[in-house]
């Protein structure tokens, strides 16, 4: 059971790292808008094409 002497601190440390990561990300404002980013990533590869036609009249 001596292994517990290593495992217990390790478990606590690991937990601590995740709590720290969470606190850091929350403070950075990563959870402020939960709606838009999940859509934003879907649109990354949509590019603006160059104007192809000059037939369309200029609107005043």
């Amino acid at each position: 059971m001596e292994i517990m002497a290593i495992l217990l601190p390790l478990a606590i440390l690991l937990g601590g790292v995740f709590v720290f990561a969470f606190v850091w990300s929350a403070k950075k404002g990563q959870y402020d808008d939960l709606e838009t980013p999940r859509f934003r990533m879907l649109l990354d590869d949509k590019k603006i094409t160059k104007p192809t036609t000059n037939l369309i009249k200029e609107e005043k």
């Binding site: 995740f18 606190v23 879907l42 649109l43 603006i48 094409t49 104007p51 036609t53 369309i56 009249k57």
Partner: protein, 784 residues
């Protein structure tokens, strides 16, 4: 049936681009066509690809083109008030965009920096429809706003109070961190607590116990802080709060756990208590979130009206420049275009037009105004350009005074103490009495330490966790489900008030009726050279007169064809006239004329919604009274009352805003449903104020509930929702009190231990959660 490629609205008759000979791309209106062309010109046609591949959030309505140049955005005064510096020091402004509806909008808005050279970053919050625009050093906000407008959105600059926003963001992040810490600690504590319950003994039991105590420290001292704060506030203000018994249990449990470090006892209640903190924090967080959603909708609407105004820059009022309504001063000469709202009280200097006063006074018919007559802010110009001289601006205008009244009403309104907190008073007293009894009982038997332990244990296990969970859970669910149905409830206490409502007052327009003129008795008298629908459509399609609009609406369903009209003329008070194929046509109040011969007649009125009467019967059968409060003429109101079978003495007509509010004040348990500014005071004075779709910002702010679908149906839903929700609340309270009784009984019997607490306490919370999810039969049918 052709469908507009831009907005998916049915296009009758469809319009096509000139070079689109094969008619592949139909449009419903000029606005949509223009935006479509602009998008193609700029190489943004991927918009349509994204749009067609994504689920639409909201229904898109056709684009209304506005010729605003947004010059006022570059005004130094304006910029100072509305823009701020972002974290890297660049000028930033937020815009509420009307017309945001889907993924493609997100793409389009965020691509802005690629085709507008003034913009550095453009970000969109889809949920709130708010775009944040960061400018390049030399950039102008007007070019971004103009671009939004060209793409078919209507931008409204938002005034941002930087300090308040920062504070709010910090608070919210802190709340989230509290929850995260509590969750992580609870999970870890559970591992060690279960090991102890499972039989760990000797040295291991001691170490595990110590670990639970150490891990509980941040939860008890950091995460649970809001409970202590609230409890302290309540004690200081001599009010009641459920947080008082919760804090007592937490402190007792924390101290008891701490002492186990020094005794041979290796079990404590911290596992149950930390979980409870975690659950309670979460339920409160979600309730707050959902309320904020309703509130932000309200904040945003405040800016709806704040479009630019044209102000004369020369003495003769020949040149005009755009300013923001905030900067109008008394004595300014303003030009009001058709469709715009009057921004200040004043006098007409030139022009002749019709005004829609319905929002201010409740009158349904347009009123003619001419030079020298007074106009009031909040009324809408519907026909021709008007030039006016502003006299009373902002707070001094009639609308401004009305707004002040509303705000005063709000300030004096007392918050009700909700059910849970009311119970908590009796609860706390009962718990202390029982703890005292238990202590005395064991003390008599001579064991002081045991007596103290037992009393503390009782305080811990009677922690009203389920009780505190019961209401936020139920209300969160009610509020979120309601908003899915288009009912936005601003605060949870409204539900409790709603369930007690006895008297419902409604404004006629928009609730019982459509609030829009409709053609009712159309009679064709003679054969005409051209189909009647074509005549009416082509003559009236450009007119903004409400009757003309309803005529166009009426013939639209019969697929009118476009024909050329010569000498098209519209004269105020005399209708429209024009020549088609050599025949002279006139449409006016009395009917349609072909070469001066009457060929068709029509009647126009604000019709009662089809579902008004059955819904009214349903509401009455629930034991509620309904009365009409209207500012309109008696004949109109009476005929509507008759149509929906409402006794004559329940329909009140010709009321001023003040009279309306007086009626409400004299009635207890009242609810007011209305939309106009003339309803605003009444909305604020009623126990529950409900604003309906299309309402003015002023009444939105006065109201507790906002309905995004018009009519009586959502009102009936709202009542059912609140009644049934309260049933669930009572059931939950019953459940949680039962668990508390059981734990007290076990305590007296001496059977309670950290293990039994660890079973009973989560079980009670779970049962409350399940009960909330199940709801009632009526609630389930409402959700479908």
């Amino acid at each position: 049936m052709e469908v507009c490629v831009h907005c998916d609205e049915v296009a009758v008759p469809p319009l096509y681009n000139e070079d689109d000979q094969s008619q592949q791309h139909p449009f419903c209106c000029q606005g949509c066509m223009t935006v479509y062309n602009v998008l193609h010109q700029k190489g943004l046609e991927a918009y349509y690809e994204i749009k067609n591949n994504s689920a639409v959030f909201k229904r898109r309505s056709p684009v209304e083109l506005k010729s605003t140049q947004f010059k006022y955005l570059d005004d130094a005064d304006f910029e100072k008030e509305f823009s701020y510096l972002d974290s890297t020091g660049y000028r930033t402004m937020e815009f509420y965009l009307e017309g945001i509806h889907c993924l493609a909008c997100l793409w389009l808005i965020e691509k802005l920096p690629e085709f507008v050279s003034d913009v550095m970053i453009s970000k969109l919050d889809l949920e709130r429809s708010v775009a944040t625009v960061v400018l390049k050093p030399e950039g102008k906000f007007s070019s971004a706003a103009k671009e939004f407008s060209q793409l078919g959105y209507r931008p409204h600059p938002l005034k941002r109070n930087q300090d308040v926003m920062d504070f709010k963001a910090k608070e919210e992040r802190l709340a989230l961190i509290r929850i995260g810490v509590a969750g992580a600690a609870t999970g870890n504590i559970m591992i060690y607590a279960v090991s102890v319950y499972g039989g760990a003994a000797g040295q291991f039991a001691e170490i595990f116990n110590a670990l639970t105590v150490i891990l509980a420290f941040p939860v008890m001292l950091f995460s649970a802080w809001p409970f202590y704060q609230n409890a302290w506030h309540a004690i200081k203000n001599k009010t009641v709060s459920i947080d008082i018994p919760i804090s007592i249990a937490l402190v007792a449990g924390g101290l008891f756990g701490f002492t186990t470090l020094f005794t041979d006892v290796n079990e404590n209640y911290l596992d149950s208590l930390t979980m409870l903190v975690f659950l309670l924090l979460m339920s409160r967080y979600f309730l707050q979130k959902i309320q904020e959603k309703g509130l932000s909708a309200q904040d945003l609407h405040y800016f709806y009206q704040s479009d630019s105004v044209l102000k004369a820059t020369t003495e003769e009022a020949t040149e005009f420049s755009e300013i923001h309504p905030k900067f109008i001063k008394s004595g300014d000469i303003l030009k009001i275009r058709p469709g715009e709202f009057i921004p200040a009280d004043g006098e007409i200097v030139s022009g002749l037009s019709y005004m829609n006063n319905s929002l201010l006074t409740g009158e349904s018919e347009p009123v003619k105004v001419r030079v020298g007559e007074k106009v009031f802010s909040g009324t809408q110009n519907i026909d021709q350009d008007l030039v006016m001289k502003a006299e009373k601006v902002h707070d001094e205008s009639r609308l401004g005074r009305l707004l002040k009244n509303v705000e005063n009403g709000w300030a004096h309104r007392s918050r009700i103490v909700d059910l849970t907190n009311r119970i908590s008073k009796h609860f706390t007293i009962a718990v202390f009495l029982m703890a005292g009894t238990l202590f005395l009982y064991h003390y008599m038997q001579g064991n002081v330490r045991h007596a103290l332990e037992q009393a503390i244990t009782l305080l811990i296990v009677t922690c009203p966790c389920a009780l505190a969970l019961a209401t936020p859970l139920t209300f969160t669910r009610a509020l979120s489900k309601a908003s899915e149905q288009g009912i936005i409830i601003k605060s949870d206490e409204v539900i409790e008030k709603l369930a007690k409502i006895k008297n419902i007052f409604v404004d006629k327009t928009g609730t019982i009726t459509f609030g829009k003129l409709k053609i009712t008795h159309f009679k064709a008298l003679k054969e005409t050279h051209l189909p009647l629908v074509d005549i009416i459509y082509n003559l009236e399609k450009r007119s903004r007169h409400p009757v003309a609009v309803s005529l166009v609406e009426y013939v639209k369903s019969q697929a009118p064809k476009l024909v050329a009209v010569e000498d098209l003329k519209e004269t105020i008070g005399q209708g429209v006239s024009g020549t088609i194929n050599g025949h002279f046509y006139v449409i006016n109040k009395s009917g349609v004329f072909e070469d001066d011969i009457l060929v068709a007649t029509y009647q126009v009125e604000d019709t009662v919604r089809n579902d008004s009467r059955p819904t009214l019967d349903k509401i009455v059968s629930k034991g509620r009274n309904i009365q009409i409060l209207s500012g309109d003429r008696a004949e109109v109101v009476e005929s509507i009352a008759q149509e929906i079978n409402l006794p004559g003495n329940f329909a009140h007509s010709g009321l001023t805003p003040e009279e309306k509010s007086q009626k409400i004040k004299n009635t207890s348990h009242s609810m007011m449903v209305g939309d106009g500014a003339n309803d605003a005071i009444a909305l604020g004075d009623a126990d529950v104020g409900v604003a309906v779709l299309g309402a003015m910002d002023i009444s939105l702010r006065a109201a507790d509930v906002y309905l995004t679908t018009p009519g009586l149906v959502p009102v009936e839903k709202l009542i059912t929702l609140s009644e049934e929700t309260m049933k669930v609340v009572y059931r939950n309270l019953g459940l949680s009190l039962t668990y508390n009784c059981i734990s007290v009984a076990l305590c007296f019997a001496g059977y309670i231990s950290p293990l039994t607490a660890a079973i009973i306490m989560p079980l009670s919370s779970l049962s409350v959660l399940i009960s909330t999810l199940i709801g009632t039969k009526e609630l389930r049918s409402l959700w479908k």
